[in-house]
Amino acid sequence: MGKKTGKQTYHFANPPVVISTGTVAGPFEGQGPLHADFDEILTDPRNNETTFEKAERSMLTKACQFALDHASCATTEVDLFLAGDLLNQIISSNFTAVTLGIPFLGLYGACSTAALSLGLGAMLLDGGFAGTVLTATVSHNSTAERQYRFPTEYGAQRRPYQQWTVTGAGAALLGYDRPGPKITAVTFGKVIDLGSTDPLNMGAAMAPAAADTIHQHFEDTGWDPNAFDLIVTGDLGKIGLDLCRQVLAENGLNLGENFSDCGVMIYDLQKQDVHAGGSGCAASALVTYGHLYKRFARQELNRILLVGTGSLHSTTSFQQGENIPCIAHAVRIEA
């Protein structure tokens, strides 16, 4: 077990490189503060497809193609494709895998999929099982709303603590012998259930899982949180982020200005009427593969900790009165 440090953290002896990324954002996300960092912004939420589900998978395929094109890499050169999404039986990823024709490992980590696939992909590379790995994830506001909540045209008033599912897709190509930021460590999280049952307040449900994984990462590595330019959670939103900060502080870990959340960063919370912020697989994927990756390229960032957060409930489990189990995975990325 030479690569494992502490209880849940793995260090990579030969850190894999994030060679390239690809991002496709929805029209609403394109109006947000990070619009300049996306490869493509859709003008039509249906992306000229007949259904929202088809639009979702077309975004995922496009994001993968962007990542491959940016690295001038053919699909035949990629050993494995790691992807997941929010829809039942991860159909968006399955259909994209048909188009790409790369051996496929389907993942379900809900909104933590970006971090989960980066961590797993890095393990496969460092373990010598693959030379090049493509990881990707997608979410769409209209498909997620239909599956988890109400029809899109249903006139329900949104709660002030509710989040907005991000429409977008992100892909990252991992490999070796190319320039780019490196994945140096990963902490896989435990599933945490602190009794939340409200699927409209997922930030609050996921905050303890994020806090647990962050705490474990620093305990395992013995590092100082100030060594990071940015510690960024996936999609806790404004309220979840505050709760996570509180829980961490109670456990003796005080995080400063370098602690933020992708769901808070992706929208203009004052102007865009998204209440507590963004959520969904695409929140962390768009922010990390778009915004943060470009900041790495501009040498504005040197070291970040991406903490992907996911709530692992289903509509059945929640309707049967079960709590919402949540997870978080932390990936350390260094220039």
Binding site: T152, E153, Y154, G155, A156, A204, L243, Q246, G321
Partner: protein, 151 residues
Amino acid sequence: MAKPKLTPAQQKYQNKVKKAEPKPDYLRNALSAFFSGGLVCLLGQALIDFYTKVMDVPPKEAANPATATMILIGALLTGFGVFDQLAKYAGAGLAVPVTGFANSVVSAALEFREEGLIYGVCAKMFTLAGAVITFGVMTAFVFGLIHAIFH
């Protein structure tokens, strides 16, 4: 639907969540529901008057075409994508009158159109409104029974 019992650690965290959750602005919501609901009712009354005075429908029966017209308006607003924008502000003012019922049926029908006419539109049209219909039919049955026995 029995809620699982919370451990002390879970309870402690849930108390924290309760404190962190911003409350909706109840007064503003109630006022806007009151006025928008009032406007909907005003429109309904105007329709009843229109049907009695202009179309010569007997006053006792004029409520039926008026209700149908309100349903049509609610359905059209849903189809044009306006209803959910209005409901954001009006809340219960639009949801409680028959317009809300129209919205719940039409939005579901639109949403599942892609799954086909029979298994999509027809089967899933009442996913939201089904409970309302069930309770409506049940209540009508019970009160009908009471009426039949004591009349």
